[in-house]
């Protein structure tokens, strides 16, 4: 029999340390829904999603109950919708598809559906351009649809035309949802090196290299890691700290693996990957920033934060990889500001700035995530922030992303309330010097050299 110490350890993680499965995400291919008639296509999309995912939420709840593990979100990702927009002629056509996705999400009971996306790291097709132009309207007129755009890859370089375009789109999204603090921006991610099997929103889409239908699972557990570090005390050296994180990540991921296998078996859908992420929530005791502080930093964002985060991120992967048969997605520590009580605190007390966050994204799982900036921030400054982040991803061969909210009418010192898992974001200072001319040049930044490393 399993010994009682191990049983109690699991119960304690679930009860007191916020251990949970963050999401079961079903990826559904919409390739076969393409149709020259938009209305007919929408009907096909709706029917396919609601058929494939009809038992997703119910099965998730059953697994939750049988194993006693909270599964916070059940979600759906679909083939990047721009692939279906080649026959669309107007923005309204695209928005129609977004509304169809929203309706399918409501019917199936999932809280978000991702994949209102385009991949334009080299150039646009007609459909890509139309879809991107429709994003502000689509996100402001739907509730559950999430969108992402890939503007750069290590092999293609950075499409600065798309980066400039996305700066304007982010601004439009904010303005169309001004009354809710620019909420549409929280559902929009701009990627470099986007992955095809990410189960986390807002950036999830079902890549074109994926199969018909797949189950991906995202685990979480910053609280568990922090508690494990509390137990080893302040004097343990960093080798011991790394080892403790590894062991904890292993256990968390084993749970994700079990849930992924069970969901796959019960839904009769292939199991794709487990995403080994430490995804924080605004709840006290569920913060990545607090793990870094537990390591010995007075506040997250001070000198040493990048090193601590690099070790955390690496140890999470090392521990998790052995625990799961297939690992993928974004796998690592997330550092969203508004969704992490410790990051919010650190920003409010002046320890954490956008510049430091940018440095942290060089070593963590994603990028500048859920960052609120003054509503007066120009489109070209937002584009320049995206370009910086894309450059980090492209040069370092990793995924990076920007989810930024230029909250209309807000300024430094204000706080934007999103509610729920999205939390509340203090408005952060951006550099006031202009980047207009750089962004206005347009064109592409060529793919970087990957030899002569220095």
């Amino acid at each position: 029999m399993i010994n009682s110490f191990e049983i109690m350890e699991t119960i304690k993680m679930l009860d007191e340390e916020h251990l949970d499965i963050r999401t079961i995400t079903m990826g559904i291919s919409l390739k076969d829904c393409s149709d020259p008639d938009i209305d007919r296509m929408c009907e096909k999309i709706y029917n396919k999603i609601t058929t494939y995912a009809k038992d997703l939420v119910k099965t998730g709840e059953e697994i939750e109950r049988d194993f006693g593990i909270p599964i916070i979100n059940k979600r759906i990702s679909v083939t990047p919708v721009s692939n279906l927009c080649e026959n669309a002629t107007t923005i309204e056509d695209c928005v129609k598809i977004a509304k169809t996705l929203d309706r399918a999400a409501i019917t199936t009971g999932v809280n978000f559906i991702g994949g209102y996306s385009a991949l334009v790291h080299k150039d646009y097709t007609k459909g890509d351009r139309l879809l991107i132009d429709s994003i502000p309207m689509a996100l402001s007129s739907t509730e559950r649809v999430c969108s992402s755009v890939n503007v750069a890859t290590t092999r293609a370089g950075i499409n600065i035309d798309a980066v400039a375009h996305m700066g304007r789109i982010v601004k439009e999204c904010a303005e169309l949802t001004a009354s809710s603090g620019g909420f549409a921006c929280a559902k929009l991610v701009v990627f470099a090196n986007a992955v095809e099997d990410n189960p986390f929103m807002a950036g999830a889409f079902h890549g074109t290299g994926e199969g018909e239908c797949v189950i991906n699972v995202g685990v979480s557990g910053p609280g568990v890691v922090k508690c494990a570090l509390e137990k080893i005390g302040k004097n343990a050296d960093l080798g011991v700290v790394a080892d403790t994180i590894k062991k904890t990540a292993f256990k968390i991921t084993r749970m994700g693996q079990l849930v992924a296998q069970e969901a796959s078996r019960r839904l009769n859908v292939p199991y794709g990957i487990v995403d080994l992420s430490l995804a924080p929530t605004p709840a006290i005791g569920d913060s990545v920033a607090h793990i870094l502080e537990e390591m010995g930093l007075e506040k997250c964002g001070t000198h040493g934060t990048t090193a601590a985060l690099a070790m955390l991120n690496d140890a999470v992967k090392k521990g998790g990889v052995m625990a799961s048969s297939f690992v993928g997605g974004l796998s690592g520590a997330f550092i969203p500001v508004s969704e992490d009580a410790g990051m919010i605190d650190a920003t409010n007390c002046g320890a954490l700035s956008i510049e430091k966050l940018e440095a942290m994204t060089c070593v963590c799982s994603v990028g500048l995530d859920m960052i609120c900036v003054p509503g007066s921030t120009s489109a070209s400054t937002i584009s320049a922030i995206i370009a910086d982040e894309a450059a980090i991803g492209v040069v370092n061969n990793k995924t990076t992303a920007v989810r930024i909210i230029p909250a209309p009418g807000m300024d430094i010192g204000d706080t934007v309330e999103f509610g729920g898992l999205l939390g509340s974001g203090p408005v952060m200072k951006v550099n006031s010097f202009k980047s207009d001319e750089f962004i206005a040049r347009g064109g592409r930044i060529p793919a970087p050299l990957h030899s002569l490393k220095n």
Partner: protein, 89 residues
């Protein structure tokens, strides 16, 4: 199929009696049982066989949870796989 029942809370008379009463009525066999009391906190772990259980897992889970509320304890039942997968390779 096996499941693990854990009971945590303040010690009092009749905890094991009440839990096993529910299990007996549902035709659930107790395979192993261990209990400790640490600083007044009662901790009981039971390994049970639910393969002959006629009720739905959800109903058992609900009746144990309700009993927990009544006695002021936390009582839960979970498939043993969660513990096996977390602590065994």
């Amino acid at each position: 199929m096996k499941a693990v029942i854990t009971v945590i809370g303040k010690d009092r008379v009749g905890i094991i009696y009440s839990v096993s009463d529910i299990l007996a009525k549902a035709n659930i066999n107790i395979l192993d049982i261990s209990q400790t009391i640490m600083q007044d906190i009662f901790t009981m772990i039971m390994l049970v066989d639910i393969s002959k259980c006629e009720d739905h897992f959800a109903e058992i889970s609900k009746s144990l949870e309700d009993l927990g509320t009544e006695l002021g304890l936390s009582i839960r039942i979970q498939h043993e796989d969660i513990f096996n997968s977390m602590h065994r390779i």
